[in-house]
Amino acid sequence: MEQFEPTIVAFCCHYCAYTAADMAGSMRLEYPPNVKIIRVPCSGRVDAIHIMKALEKGADGVLVAGCLEGDCHFKNGNVKALQRVTALHPFLEEIGIEAERVQMVNMSAGMGGRFAQIATEFTEKIRELGPNPAKAGASRLAAS
């Protein structure tokens, strides 16, 4: 069986995380191509529904990436984002989806290295967890 390639959605704030991802590019730091970025003005714009829909539509993992704590361009959007991610974790467990599939991370715009590292580690973690169980169930359905 070929290796499972997870699909990972990263909601990245424009000011820090998205810039850090670009920086990783300028620095030519490799990370797995599994991570796909959706740009948002602030991690505080990321609604719990966006995360849920990402999982429902087939993402195996979701990263919410904001500025370093205290550095949010909009004061506390990253704190709000963390609260939402934390609140979503028990709900995911209820559904039967591992909470680790959704993670909040922080970085500054200059941290291209950190972005690449997080992207690598998170991909590895999701790879170990295996496919999103909801998606897996649905594909069983399609197969049968």
Binding site: A48, I49, M52, L55, F91, G96, L141
Partner: protein, 221 residues
Amino acid sequence: MITAERKPLDEIMESIDGCGRILLVGCNECVTVCAAGGRKEVALLASALQMASMKKGRTLDIRELTLERQCDPEYVEELTPHIDQVDAVVSMACGCGVQEVARRFKKTHVYPALNTKFMGASEGPGIWAERCQGCGDCLLGLTGGICPIARCAKRLMNGPCGGSTNGKCEISNDVDCAWHLIWERMKELGIEDRYEDVIAAKDWRTGRGGGPRKILREDLV
């Protein structure tokens, strides 16, 4: 405001077991404000139900709709065009809303997605606390604006019990002793002397003791 919390997902899943088409109905009043059953929670629950089903190898047809107020028949009427196309309604309103939908659509299963909790106030973002039990005979005027029925674990009417310690109730350190609060408030109002006034035994018939209640305003009928 009426407060509520979402039921465990398993319980909701169990109730709709065997249903393929679901109408998930929110309410834009109290349960929106207490973040339990507004449009956002409807969307979240829809997604959660979908994923929980997918896990079992099924998909659901879920329609989302949020009514202005689920406890008024005119608003509930808005469900009519959908009702024949679904196997069940899952209501994210308080118990009143659930019953109103059930009353209107006699042949459709209506399942609650929320546990209705209490009448309460917002103590800050994300915190709601019980304030009123609807006893039908308000005595807040006698108790410095703090209700011993809703806020004392024992509903004591004349001072605290022996379990009051440092202003907290013996059931939990997170619960204020209502009579301690009443005393503090009376001190602030300068009416400490009223504390000793005996409140007569309460006639519970105005509350649930008298059976289900109804208000009739003849001038509005």
